[in-house]
């Protein structure tokens, strides 16, 4: 028996030791530092110091990430959240769906992580996490944040919860009021004392919702449902008290479309008959793109366009003028710098690898492009604190 043990020791131990040596290369999982890319010359006196870009990350990947472009240095930093908040367990989260700034706070709505992450605008450090199930977008008015959520109370149909909007006090960062809206609410905007909410009904295919909910902010009740079209998505207010709202269509027979709502009458004023997936309004122009997909043809058609919001007419002109659009696989986000009027378009490419952010000058010529996180989608500009 003793001999056997010795033999064992002589054989097994060296092999085990070799194995350990062989596998000593597990260093421990470390925080991934930002990717730093200089993209432009420094503009120290810009009206906007920079912008945050929220990357959605593919669902289930937990790869939502935050990028920041600093105009004062001309440097783009991708994936800054984890380094700024090293103690946040499993980092920023899964599917970042919206990002906005109100006062000195940065609000990121992380859909699958069921939370609104509230950060300091200058340091990007977490101030608080507000848990909201299946939250989608955020907008602000009078010291309050309004967050749309798919997860409202379970009403008539137990398996298709109606949506709601939650009011959050921006000082205490606590939920103060709730209002039930339509099914699967998306973007919102405040005009006067009314909150407009685009209801998609995306969980109820083919019985989409087709309304915009109008919420009175005093009573926080739904005072009207405006019938618009199926599967509503984007909703933006212009400077004239009108609201632009988009429909995704049904991907089969009903195409994507753009509508105009007059907030004085709370009725649809105009139908533009152009496909719109996303839009950004700046000055007198709405910059739009449409990436409409049809299961009938099995193809998606990508188009870029502009709408004059004063005359409320489609310009039928691409805002990209140098042919760069041919290299954009999947436009996913759009923004315009209010100061410089630079137009930003993000390319989500194949959704599972790094995307690209394009910066165009106001005449539509490419200034620069940079690699972002996965599914770059939402941009918010940081005003200079002068």
């Amino acid at each position: 028996m003793n001999v056997m043990m010795k033999q064992l020791r002589n054989t097994v131990l060296p092999i085990a030791a070799t194995m350990l040596l062989f596998t000593a290369c597990r260093k421990g999982d470390s925080i991934v530092p930002p990717e730093v890319t200089p993209v432009d010359t420094a503009h120290p006196h810009a009206a906007y110091n920079g912008f945050y870009l929220l990357n959605e990350g593919n669902m289930g990947s937990n790869k939502s990430s935050l990028d920041y472009y600093d105009y004062t240095t001309g440097i783009y930093k991708s994936n800054i959240y984890a380094t700024a908040n090293p103690t946040a367990v499993k980092e920023l989260g899964d599917v970042g769906n919206d990002i906005q700034i109100y006062g000195s706070k940065l609000y990121a709505v992380i859909n699958v992580s069921n939370k609104v992450e509230v950060m300091d605008v200058t340091t990007t450090k977490r101030i608080k996490q507000i848990d909201i199930l299946n939250c989608r977008y955020v907008t602000f008015a009078n010291g309050k944040a309004y967050v749309s959520s798919y997860a409202g109370p379970v009403l008539i149909e137990p398996n298709a919860p109606i949506g709601q909007v939650l009011e959050v006090d921006t000082a205490t960062l606590t939920i103060t009021r709730k209002v039930t809206v339509g099914y699967q609410p998306e973007e919102m905007a405040v005009v006067g004392n009314k909150l407009y909410v685009a209801n998609s009904g995306g969980y109820r295919v083919p019985n989409y919702d087709r309304t915009v909910s109008v919420i009175d902010l005093n009573t926080f009740t739904e005072i009207k449902k405006i019938d618009v079209a199926i599967n509503l998505d984007r909703l933006k207010a212009d400077s004239d008290g009108d609201i632009y709202v988009t429909s995704r269509g049904d991907y089969y027979k009903v195409p994507s479309n753009l509508f105009l709502i007059d907030t004085k009458t709370d009725a649809v004023k105009k139908t533009f008959d152009i496909p719109v997936s996303n839009l950004a309004i700046s000055g007198d122009t709405a910059y739009v793109y449409g990436s409409s997909f049809s299961y009938i043809t099995g193809k998606w058609t990508i188009s870029y366009n502009m709408v004059n919001i004063k005359t409320e007419t489609v310009l039928n002109k691409n805002f990209i003028t140098d042919g760069t659009e041919n290299g954009i696989k999947m436009p996913y986000g759009i923004a315009v710098n209010p100061g410089t009027r630079e137009i930003f378009v993000t390319d989500a490419r194949d959704y599972v690898s790094s995307g690209t952010l394009y910066c165009f000058d106001p005449s539509g010529k490419k200034k620069w492009a940079v690699t972002t996180g996965e599914i770059p989608a939402h941009i918010v500009f940081v005003a200079s604190s002068k």
């Binding site: 001999v3 056997m4 033999q7 054989t11 097994v12 092999i15 085990a16 194995m19 596998t23 290369c25 597990r26 421990g28 999982d29 470390s30 925080i31 991934v32 530092p33 959605e56 593919n58 669902m59 289930g60 990947s61 937990n62 790869k63 994936n79 946040a88 499993k90 980092e91 920023l92 989260g93 899964d94 992380i110 699958v112 992580s113 069921n114 939370k115 996490q129 199930l133 997860a151 398996n159 919860p161 969980y203 295919v205 083919p206 991907y251 997936s277 409409s292 997909f293 099995g298 998606w300 999947m330 989500a348 194949d350 959704y351 599972v352 690898s353 790094s354 690699t371 996180g373 599914i375």
Partner: protein, 677 residues
């Protein structure tokens, strides 16, 4: 146009049926021949294919004894010790475990249960975690195909194949009944009793029955931990994996018979399970409520007989029904309650003719019918008719042997709704050679080439809002060259040693990949991908006799794989290693037997990988490696044999993910108690 298409589809189908009927006709003719030669002694020609080291493509195998010593829970756990494959393991007892052979993708793997392929027309993947080792006689892995020309056409139809063979009753003189009861318990709240009963019916017929119940909470601790640049811990969080419970029952039984120069068997298999789907662990969401119910039933039969001294016939038939219900009842998310039903019928006939002592030819024809129903909105309700024909030849000389086969595949589909896939017809070849360069048979050189494809699955083609009915098959081309060396010694401390090495180059083209639609919840399947794979498999094994009564077994595998995405030079990941494939991986098994005692140490190593297409730091996944230890002892009380095993798995308590955000268990324990009567 539509009318023409339908007509063409019907024509192909009828031709498939005609072919099959032709085979049946032949069967009748041959059956008559069989009657007329009944008196002849057929024992001489009972051996129909070269075996063991003479196999042109020997494959990798694990036998019952070794499987028992390893004590793995499922086939998926045992198969990790083969070279050249990676398991996609979603973690836990009930977690999905699929296999990817030589980086060609899960869909290129054919899985055979007692000689007949397990189908899944819906998504083309077989969950190997479902299959117990309790009644396994052998698990074998073949790259290319099994080196046997006398087999159904389907056996020629995958890029790589796994064969699970159940225990066949073998009775010593005087024995009539074997009874074995096993209870496994341990971590994860596991309670897993099983029963195996083998009965001799007549001298030539035996029956077997095997049943098993797996019940587990699936609860285990996992841990995520991050460090900063300086190596300080920034967060370290532990939690218990929830909703990983499983309750599954397997019942199977059948008859095995021996004929004069032949054999037959029949089998009925039933599996039923309910399990929780523990889901991804992401920020702020550590548990899920999704559930899945499965039911799998199949009946199959197999018949092989040497009709004349030169001519043999092989028949196989199967009917299978598979049911899955997927429920996502989270009220805050999209509610899903889908039911999927799949039906399969399969008939195969193979003929072999021995022309000369060194030359054999074979022909086989299979017909398969698949249908799928699902309560998805706007579902297509597809039916697929597959006809496979194969012609193969085998040459065996004293120092050289070769096999060549040509497979014809003819697929047509019918749909109730929407548009169906167009008719497909493909001819794919394979060539295997084996050469013994020296007078000693210890050393052999071999090589193969095979071109094969996988059909788009029903999900690829028809999944509502995702499928693309115009998909083409996805092709895989393989080139392989290798050596085998093995030697046995009758005295000395080393009694047996073997080394096997293969270098290979594979190409996957028209790879079916999901391409996003206009938002991230809408995707579309496309024939877009292209992957080139350079690889090296090394397998070494030895049997040692270190001390009079101590036998040592050692087995080592090493796999190198450079699998690169060459889809589009404009992609940021062009030329990058594909997702979840390590460049280096390997395994080690050390087994020792001493009198009634046995001990086993096993080690798995998976090198660094990437959890997305880009080989960037943000997608980097650390290597992981686990050590498992087990000790067992046999007891005998008169005619009853007892066997007790205790295991510690993942001894070093390493926390890791095989699939990103699906944490694997840390250290866990298992106890196995077996009674043999």
């Amino acid at each position: 146009m539509k009318c023409f298409k339908e007509h063409a589809g019907w024509r192909k189908k009828t031709s498939g049926m005609l072919f099959f009927m032709l085979c049946c006709g032949m069967l009748r003719v041959h059956a008559q021949q069989a009657d007329s030669i009944k008196t002849r002694d057929l024992r001489e020609v009972a051996v129909t294919a070269p075996r063991a080291d003479r196999e042109v493509n020997p494959g990798q195998k694990m036998q019952a004894k070794e499987l028992e010593r390893l004590g793995s829970h499922s086939v998926a756990d045992a198969i990790r010790f083969f070279a050249g494959l990676q398991i996609k393991d979603y973690g836990g007892i009930g977690g999905l475990k699929t296999v990817d052979i030589r980086s060609m993708g899960t869909n290129h793997v054919g899985v055979f249960y007692d000689g007949i392929q397990l189908g899944n027309a819906q998504n083309g993947q077989i969950d190997l975690g479902k299959f117990s080792l309790d009644n396994m006689e052998e698990i074998a892995l073949y790259n290319g195909q099994k080196s046997n020309i006398f087999q159904p056409a389907k056996d020629f139809g995958s890029a790589g194949s796994i064969y699970m063979t159940c225990l066949k009753p073998k009775f010593a003189p005087g024995e009539k009944t074997h009874l074995r009861g096993t209870i496994k318990t341990g971590s994860f709240g596991l309670f897993n009793p099983s029963l195996l009963w083998q009965q001799k019916v007549t001298d030539k017929i035996s029956a077997s029955f095997s049943t098993e119940w797996v019940n587990a909470t699936g609860r285990y601790k996992f841990r995520y931990r991050k460090l900063d640049d300086a190596g300080h811990v920034t967060y370290d969080t532990s939690a218990y994996r929830k909703n990983g419970d499983i309750n599954a029952v397997r019942v199977e039984g059948g008859f095995n018979g021996i004929l004069n120069g032949g054999e037959w068997n029949t089998k009925i298999y039933y599996y039923q399970s309910e399990r929780g789907l523990p889901g991804t662990i992401v920020n702020n969401v550590f548990s899920h409520v999704d559930r899945q119910w499965d039911q799998n039933i199949f009946i199959q039969g197999h018949f092989r007989k040497d009709i004349t001294k030169h001519y043999s016939i092989l028949l196989n038939a199967k009917y299978a029904y598979d049911y899955t219900r997927y429920l996502a009842p989270d009220t805050a998310r999209l509610y899903i309650d889908n039911h999927y039903r799949q039906y399969e019928m399969y008939f195969s006939m193979a003929h072999q003719y021995i022309l000369t002592k060194w030359w054999t030819v074979s022909a086989s024809g299979d017909f398969q019918w698949n249908r799928m129903d699902a309560d998805l909105r706007n579902f297509t309700y597809p039916t697929r008719y597959t006809t496979l024909t194969a012609a193969a030849t085998n040459l065996t000389f004293s120092r050289f042997s070769a096999q060549a086969s040509l497979l014809g595949t003819f697929v047509s589909e019918d749909v109730k709704l929407n548009a169906g896939a167009p008719y497909q017809q493909q001819f794919t070849p394979a060539v295997f050679i084996s050469w013994q360069p020296l007078p000693s048979p210890d050393f052999r050189v071999r090589a193969y080439y095979k071109r094969i494809f996988r059909m788009p699955t029903f999900n690829d083609l028809y999944y509502t809002d995702l499928g693309n009915n115009l998909l083409k098959p996805e092709f895989a081309k393989q080139y392989d060259a290798g050596i085998t060396w093995n030697k046995t010694w009758s005295n000395g401390w080393l009694t047996q040693a073997a080394i096997e090495t293969d270098a290979y180059y594979n190409e996957v083209t028209d790879k079916i990949v999901a391409v996003p639609g206009d938002n991230q919840f809408r995707w579309m399947m496309m024939n877009l991908g292209k992957v080139k794979i350079k690889g090296l498999d090394v397998k070494a094994s030895a049997v040692w006799k270190l001390f009079q009564q101590v036998n040592f077994n050692t087995k080592l595998t090493y796999t190198f794989q450079r699998a690169q995405d060459f889809t589009d030079p404009a992609d940021s990941f062009y030329g990058d290693q594909i997702i979840y494939i390590p460049r280096h991986s390997g395994s080690l098994i050390l087994g020792a037997d001493y009198k009634q005692w046995e001990a086993n140490y096993s080690f798995i190593y998976t090198g660094e990988r990437y959890n997305s297409k880009e080989n960037k730091q943000k997608n980097y996944v650390e290597p992981w490696y686990t050590s498992d230890l087990s000790v067992g002892r046999q007891f005998q009380l008169q005619h009853t044999r007892f066997h007790i095993t205790a295991q510690v798995n993942n001894v070093a308590n390493q926390y890791y993910d095989v699939i990103y955000n699906y944490p694997m268990p840390g250290r866990n324990y298992r106890f196995i108690f077996t009674v043999n009567i």
